[in-house]
């Protein structure tokens, strides 16, 4: 049966939905055994650019919002081919037909009646990854001279619709517009062409945990399940990672410093003690360490590592190759003995870690997942977390507790009495409190709000 003791759940069933945001290809089948780095699904696509067609310009007439509906031949959601008419009107005494045409193959995404404009989203599947534009011909200049007229150089990013080059023309200035968003790869002075490479968006998702594929979601991904031991932290940075556990600290009160991070730790999830320094984190990044589990770290060092302040919200979205899981808090916080011993006993085994943290509204905490070798039944993790939440309450005499605020932050003890009257603290506040006997035999009063009950 599953047991929850503090931050450790010794046996739980963990199910994770592994999906990509775009339709793509699922590369596993139900029943497959997977490792954390195994690919589950992938998609590769060039995003379609938006093109705006100004109806008033193209048709050469002023249009009221009501008239826009009358001239439009297409509606929102209609697929169109390049040069297919979007709108048509007849002008003048001879009823000259004028049309506004779609510049690309795509979908009519938006029609603004107020501004008489149509937005066509280019078909991502048909969008060519490379676009070559003959700038010399467009500007009517000698190919060898196009660099003189270009506003951009190789390596520059351009957005679709911006002026790529301009040159004096017959009636003033001739402009050449970028036909697509991308990076200028080449300006050829022999042919007078400019090559733009469009960014491709690819998406893929791996299994993250070692387990079994339980269910397939066509074109999207799969549900992966495992029976595992689960350790919950209080704060983390970085997203999913995995690697063999390497316990570098000798005891939970040690500080992990740069010299403790050696090249042989590449790819590992390193376990420290009370604190990990900024230098150790930087070296770990440099050496390719997958994750660090520590009791604590200084907030200032985490901010320096990220290069920006950490503000309220959800972490895990940082572009950080290293996952950090703090089990106790900020500062020098000796890791809880039971957590340290648990991790030490698992040394060498592959764990999955995730630093994502959200303190408020649908609490998300960083995690360490250690798959077990057997497939014995286990309660789902969500049920155990909910049960633990529901069972939280006031301690009773004899309850095992941990102090989670100064003074005596992190100390374990047992409740020996529950005063019926509030207790006066050094702050002069009168607070409901419990008398706790610590592991060294000393006794102290602690506000109930500052106790975690187990």
């Amino acid at each position: 049966m599953s047991r929850a003791e503090g931050q450790i759940f010794e046996r739980v069933r963990i199910s994770r939905k592994r999906v990509i945001p775009l339709p793509g290809e699922v590369v596993v089948e139900a029943g497959d055994r997977v490792c954390p780095s195994d690919l589950i699904a992938r998609a590769e696509t060039v995003p379609g650019d938006p093109y705006i067609v100004d109806l008033q310009n193209e048709l050469g007439v002023r249009l009221t919002p009501e008239q826009v509906s009358k001239v439009m031949l297409k509606r929102v959601g209609d697929r169109v081919l390049g040069q297919e008419p979007l709108a048509r009107t007849e002008v003048g005494p001879f009823r000259e037909v004028r049309e506004a045409r779609s510049p690309v193959d795509g979908v009519v995404e938006f029609i603004s009646h107020a501004y008489a404009r149509v937005l066509v989203r280019e078909d991502a599947q048909k969008a060519a990854p490379v676009v070559i534009l003959n700038v010399a011909r467009k500007l009517d200049v000698a190919p060898a001279l196009i660099r003189a007229y270009m506003r951009y150089r190789e390596g520059d990013e351009v957005r679709q619709g911006t002026i790529l080059a301009d040159a004096p023309g017959g009636l003033g200035v001739e402009y050449c517009y970028a036909p697509a968003t991308g990076v200028i790869e080449r300006i050829c002075t022999r042919t007078g062409t400019v090559t733009i490479v469009r960014p491709s968006k690819s998406a893929q998702v791996d299994a993250y945990i070692e387990g079994t594929v339980k269910e397939i979601y066509p074109e999207k991904g799969a549900l992966v399940e495992t029976t595992a031991a689960y350790v919950q932290g209080v704060f983390g940075l970085g997203f999913e990672n995995h690697g063999p556990l390497r316990v570098v600290a000798r005891d939970p009160s040690e500080t992990l410093d740069a010299e403790d991070i050696t090249p042989d730790l590449a790819g590992a999830v390193v376990v420290g003690g009370a604190r990990v320094t900024l230098e150790a984190m930087r070296k770990a990044l440099h050496e390719g360490v997958a994750g660090i589990v520590s009791g604590g770290a200084d907030m200032e060092d985490l901010v320096s590592l990220l290069g920006r302040d950490i503000v309220v919200g959800i972490t895990g979205q940082e572009e950080l190759d290293l996952t950090i899981v703090l089990t106790e808090g900020f500062g020098s916080m000796p890791m809880a003995e039971d957590v340290f011993e648990f991790l030490r006993a698992a040394e060498g085994r592959t764990v999955s870690v995730n630093g994502s943290t959200q303190v408020r509204a649908g609490v998300v905490r960083p995690e360490i997942i250690l798959p077990l070798d057997d497939d014995e039944p286990a309660d789902p993790l969500e049920d155990l977390l909910a049960r633990r939440e529901a069972e939280k309450g006031e301690p009773t005499v004899g309850a095992k507790v941990r102090i989670v605020r100064n003074p005596k932050f992190g100390r374990w003890g047992t409740v020996v009495s529950m005063p019926s009257e509030p207790v006066r603290f050094e702050t002069e506040a009168l607070l409901p409190a419990a008398e706790v006997e610590l592991d060294d035999g000393s006794r102290v009063f602690v506000p109930l709000a500052n106790l975690e009950v187990f």
Partner: protein, 615 residues
């Protein structure tokens, strides 16, 4: 008080705590007689607001000594010794009312729409306008991401442009807003713009949203009428948002469909107080995640929400926005930025813990000062004169010429004209000494001239605000006798002080008729005993250049209201300036704390003080 209503159970469902109070008529007066609290149970795993509501009511019952609820049902009206005559409720749980507002011009109609939404108690997630820097697609995408409960759209004066208004409506329609609660619910759009464009708006948006038209919040550039929009938002909040949140149907039944967003109720009490005392009032409600600031200036009410400044979840934001040095400057001891950040971050991840050492209490109070200060600055930016308006009088025109403010709003909050400051929220209400709350408010708001300071004793302003909708006299009586704790009066000349040199002379006539004269000395604070219910007459003579409310160097006759702390003569100057040298700063802050006897003498040495508690 009405003949019918003898007893009221009022409940506020906050984001973390549900609080119940019982108000009764006793010996001809309405008093707070019991209260109870329980954790709010809107989110998983309970997902039923009534669990927390019943528990809070049960705890109030236990203190009251008589039954209010039987078998899960509220007993109403009161019969003999059981039940209550009236039940009222406020809520900010589940994130409260989340709105997006849209207008044409960011600094005109969009801003008016934002004020209307804030005044209705909403959290404004984004303000969309035609002139904001985003491209069309970004605006549409943003609207898609946000999932508001409701959208308020303003735009155009009543005889103005229609096509731009129609364009905004088209963006909203193209985004096809989806609700965050309940898949079959259509997000309502409240349209409060150019009345000539309303059919265009209905046509554009009607397929995807339910449209409710109210009078224009900006019928001309010179006028702003927010009330019809606020009322409609509130009505839709009850009908749509509240009815779909878990367990709220039962709560709506208990409340006979009267539930208000918490901030709206708090604002109501502020307005009542301002009206009753003919005063300009500024108030703050500092919570775990957000800080709300309210003001009633010359009868005009404003509310701002600083959504990421608070005392628990968002406490690290306060440090980030204010800067660790600005928090540390309020402390009478040295602390490294590193240690300060760690202490504050530990509170963020364990938000329900409480300070048990003096050091941590002082740090929490320092963070609170900065949270309120920043929120007040933000509020002053919102509470502005209308942009696009030519100011009318000759003096105003001349001043505009020099200030070039004709086309930009200026803050209507002039600290010298603020008569009272009210503080609410756990860090203020539960401060172990009232002098801590007073000093906190004085440091954060830096009131000028003569200002009364108050604290909400147990955070029942929301309860009384919603009660005031039905029983205003009852609510106001309880507000003045049991809710509002007068701290005292602060006399603070607006001036640059020189240490030890007088800024003003204050001649006082004390309650017993005796006379007393004191000088307000630069850099110092003096407390004159003046208890609750006592008043002293003041004749204040500032030195040349110092302003106490009538202009630089001009005398002022005023009245000081007493309180838990008394009359404080604050010579620190405005704005308060800290010495550059750390040892001077430490000595100065220590003197301030001592002059108000704000903290216990011992253990104020700083980090490493004694631990544990004792009887």
């Amino acid at each position: 008080m009405s003949d019918r209503i003898r007893s009221v159970l009022a409940i506020d469902v906050g984001s973390t705590t549900t609080k119940a109070i019982v108000v009764e008529e006793r010996d001809g007066a309405c008093r707070l007689v019991a209260r109870g609290e329980a954790p709010t149970t809107v989110e998983a795993p309970q997902e039923d607001v009534m669990i927390g509501v019943r528990l809070a009511a049960a705890r109030a019952e236990a203190r009251l000594g008589r039954r209010l609820v039987r078998e899960g049902r509220l007993i109403t009206p009161q019969v003999g010794d059981e039940g209550v005559d009236l039940f009222v409720c406020t809520s900010s749980a589940g994130g409260g009312l989340q709105m997006t507002v849209a207008g044409l011009v960011k600094t005109m109609t969009a801003e008016s729409a934002e004020r209307a939404a804030l005044g209705a108690g909403a959290v404004v997630m984004d303000v969309i306008s035609l002139d904001d820097a985003r491209m069309v697609l970004e605006r549409i995408r943003r609207l898609q991401e946000l999932r508001p409960d409701m959208i308020l759209m303003a735009g155009g004066t009543d005889d103005g442009n229609i096509s731009h208004v129609a364009a905004v409506a088209e963006y909203i329609a193209a985004s096809r807003p989806r609700p965050r609660l309940g898949g079959d619910y259509r997000v309502p759009l409240v349209y409060a713009g150019n009345q000539r464009a309303r059919e265009y708006v209905r046509d554009a948006v009607g397929d995807v949203m339910d449209v409710y038209v109210v009078p224009n919040i900006r019928p001309t550039l010179e006028e702003e009428d927010l009330e019809p929009a606020r009322r409609e938002i509130h009505r839709l909040f009850l009908e749509h948002v509240m009815a779909r949140a878990p367990g709220y149907r039962n709560l709506l039944e208990w409340a006979k469909n009267v539930i208000e967003p918490t901030p709206m109720a708090v604002g109501k009490m502020m307005q009542m107080m301002a009206e009753a005392h003919q005063a300009n009032v500024v108030g703050v409600d500092i919570g775990g995640a957000t800080t709300d600031v309210f003001s009633v200036i010359d009868g005009r009410f404003h509310r701002s929400v600083s959504a990421n400044l608070g005392m628990s979840y968002s406490t690290v934001n306060v440090l980030a926005e204010a800067g660790p040095e600005n928090v540390a400057r309020w402390l009478p001891f040295r602390i490294s930025v590193r240690d300060l950040r760690n202490l504050v971050a530990n509170k963020m991840v364990r938000p329900t813990t409480l300070p048990a050492t003096l050091e941590e209490l002082l740090i929490e109070h320092a963070v609170a000062r900065e949270a309120i200060r920043l929120s007040y600055e933000h509020h002053k930016e919102i509470a502005v004169t209308l942009k696009g308006v030519q100011h009318v009088g000759t003096f105003d025109k001349l001043r505009d010429l020099f200030r070039q403010e004709t086309l930009s709003g200026r803050s209507i909050i002039e600290p010298l004209t603020v008569n009272a400051v009210i503080g609410s929220g756990g860090v203020l209400s539960h401060a172990p000494r009232r002098s801590q709350a007073m000093l906190l408010l004085m440091d954060a708001f830096q009131p000028e001239g003569v200002t009364g300071l108050y604290v909400d004793s147990v955070f029942m302003m929301p309860h009384l605000g919603v009660l005031a909708e039905l029983e205003p006299e009852m609510a106001f009586q309880v507000f003045e006798t049991d809710c509002l704790v007068p701290l005292g009066t602060c006399v603070a000349p607006k001036a640059r002080p020189r240490p030890g040199r007088p800024l003003a002379t204050v001649h006082m006539v004390m309650p017993d008729g005796s006379r007393r004269t004191e000088k307000v000395l630069g850099g110092e604070m003096t407390v004159i005993p003046l208890g609750p219910g006592e008043k002293a007459h003041l004749h204040i003579v500032p030195v040349r250049g110092a302003d106490v409310g009538a202009g630089p160097g001009r005398r002022v006759e005023s009245e000081a209201v007493g309180g838990a702390v008394g009359l404080v003569l604050d010579g620190r100057g405005r704005p308060i300036v800290f010495p550059e040298r750390e040892d001077e700063r430490l000595a100065m802050v220590a003197r301030w704390l001592e002059s108000l006897e704000a903290y216990p003498e011992t253990e104020r040495a700083g980090p490493g003080g004694a631990g544990g508690g004792g009887r």
